[in-house]
Amino acid sequence: MQQLTEIRWHARAGQGAVTAAKVVAETALSADQYMQAMPEYGPERMGAPIKAFTRISDQPIDIHCNIENPNVVIVLDDTLLDVVDVAEGITSDGVLILNTCTPAAVVKKALGLPDSVKVACVDASGIALDTIKRDIPNTPIVGAFMKAAPGIIDLETFKGLLAKNLGKKFGQEMIDANHAAVDRAYEEVTVA
């Protein structure tokens, strides 16, 4: 049977969700997995709520449509919780990862999620400001994702790819800052 992981990203345009969806897919490819990554295309307005999708599988992926029953939901902005039903359709054993300062248990209760769904919270924006010096939560939140939903993509492979991608435009300092952001989010994420 096909091992298919479906990830849905929620963010505001400009937060780097599409890039993150892509890098996660590339990381999966590095491990010889099959993958897809696509944004839900709409009018491009900075700050508007957007969705993106990543599929990862051990076999070729046939389906081409939006993800309605994600195994993993990654939310890059906690103000979206008032605007979008981010947990819509999440599988009963799913994981929701959120960039927020609010404790995971509080978020889980607020979203009315069953016990079987794992909620993982991390202050990805705070970590990004500390390390990368800009509020780009997309890199650290992938660190939190790898901890909260283990076994889908590999931490070292992801960091290696990050270094390769960043190396095209930036120096070692920026690579180190991003690696630090990933490691910190990996360590600091709390799960309820």
């Binding site: 892509k22 897919a25 099959y34 295309y41 046939d62």
Partner: protein
């Protein structure tokens, strides 16, 4: 089999790669909205010196095709890309390209036509051009878009064919999504397509010819059209031959029609493009529950492989044809009309129903495919009669 490089990238990018590897002499393009990044990426290749092509920036899509026609008639290998309104604006030129028997290869990102304004996927743009005399291939995936583009160059330029070829890929779903794709190396592709040897080139001044001249009342217009018909009919075996040759290099299948789980299928979906995989996915699920479901994907629409489609579905108890475009006022969508017609000469009557789906990028959810197979199952068991066209999933 040739060595290949596995990459994570978009359909647009690999079509641009295929263009570069096929070494066109001229690319003329206009960035109408919606255009794709195919021509943008190709422009980069030209600027970087990675391909030696004359890149003509024209003032409209109409001019893009006009310039392509002029360059092709002169004797150049010509490629271009368009989408949606751009293809619509090219309409009169499409007929001139095929009437002058010019082997132009054009990628078309299948996107909706206005109004209302919508830039997302459907096949309305290409289907509007289905009578323009172009060979038309459709890709399910970015991989197929890459493969079809390379195959198209050989097909278009084959002396038995000499027809423009449109290689279609689904807008956004295939053009903009990141997918896993295997790319051949430059030498393999360049060697496969070979050097272009133009026929009746205008720049061959030792052998002066006229292209597209007057052929009015009493002239050979009628016979010209007959020769176009003969050429596109001949193209079928050429596409099969070139496709088979490409398969040997790539290790990937190529068929005018590609079937899945059809050997013992009671019910089948006939479909074009990126949603074929959705149908296959659901058919596999339903097979696990005991329904004998199958999928027939049409990869070549012009020439239409009627015999192959009929052979694939003749044993079915009910068939659904899914159209991602309209033919307003007709009995059904363009694919439906072809499939129904293909079945007419069969001894047995196969019930066929038509679904219009995914217009303007409407998401093709898996539950919609379930709905179609369930309807088919009811028809196959005799508990429902084949009904009129259904707008699948419309609110």
């Amino acid at each position: 089999m040739a060595e290949q490089k596995t990459v994570a990238t978009t359909g647009n990018l690999v079509v641009a790669e295929a263009f570069r590897q096929c070494k066109p002499d001229v690319v003329a393009a206009y960035p109408i909205t919606p255009q794709t990044t195919i021509v943008e990426e190709f422009a980069k290749f030209v600027a970087q010196g990675r391909v030696h092509a004359e890149y003509v920036t024209v003032e409209s899509e109409h001019s893009a095709m006009s310039a392509s026609i002029g360059a092709s008639a002169a004797g150049a290998r010509v490629m271009t890309a368009t989408a949606s309104q751009g293809l619509a604006l090219m309409w009169e030129e499409l007929h001139i390209a095929s009437g002058m028997r010019l082997p132009i290869v054009m990628a078309n990102a299948n996107r909706a036509l206005s109004a209302p304004i919508n830039i997302h996927c459907d096949h309305g743009d290409a289907m509007g051009a289905r009578d323009a005399g172009w060979v038309m291939l459709f890709a399910e995936t970015a991989q197929e878009a890459y493969d079809n583009t390379i195959i198209s160059v050989r097909v278009a330029e084959d002396p038995e064919v000499l027809l423009p070829t449109m290689t279609c890929l689904d807008g956004f779903i295939t053009t903009h999504s990141i997918d896993r794709i295997d790319l051949l190396d430059d030498e393999t592709v360049t060697g496969f397509v070979g050097e272009y040897e133009p026929v009746n080139a205008l720049l061959d001044t030792d052998n002066p010819v006229t292209h597209g001249s007057f052929a009015g009342l009493g002239g050979p217009y009628f016979e010209f059209k007959k020769s176009q018909r003969n050429a596109i009919d001949r193209s079928k075996t050429v596409i099969e031959r070139v496709g088979a040759e490409f398969s040997e290099i790539s290790g990937r299948p190529f068929g005018l029609v590609e079937t899945a789980m059809m050997d013992d299928a009671d019910v089948a979906i006939v479909i074009i493009g990126s949603s074929a995989g959705n149908a296959r996915h659901v058919a596999r699920e339903l097979r696990a529950e005991g329904m004998k479901a199958g999928v027939v994907k049409v990869r070549c629409f012009r020439p239409f492989p009627a015999a192959e489609v009929a052979a694939a579905i003749k044993g079915c108890k009910a068939v659904a044809v899914l159209d991602r475009s309209e033919s307003f006022g007709a009995e059904g969508g363009p694919l439906y009309l072809e499939v129904r017609s293909a079945l007419y000469d069969l001894e047995t009557r196969v019930p066929v129903v038509n679904y219009i789906y995914g217009l303007g990028g409407a998401d093709v959810r898996l539950e919609l495919m379930h709905q179609v197979y369930n309807d088919l199952s009811d028809i196959a068991s005799g508990s429902a009669l084949p009904g009129k066209m259904v707008y699948l999933g419309a609110r």
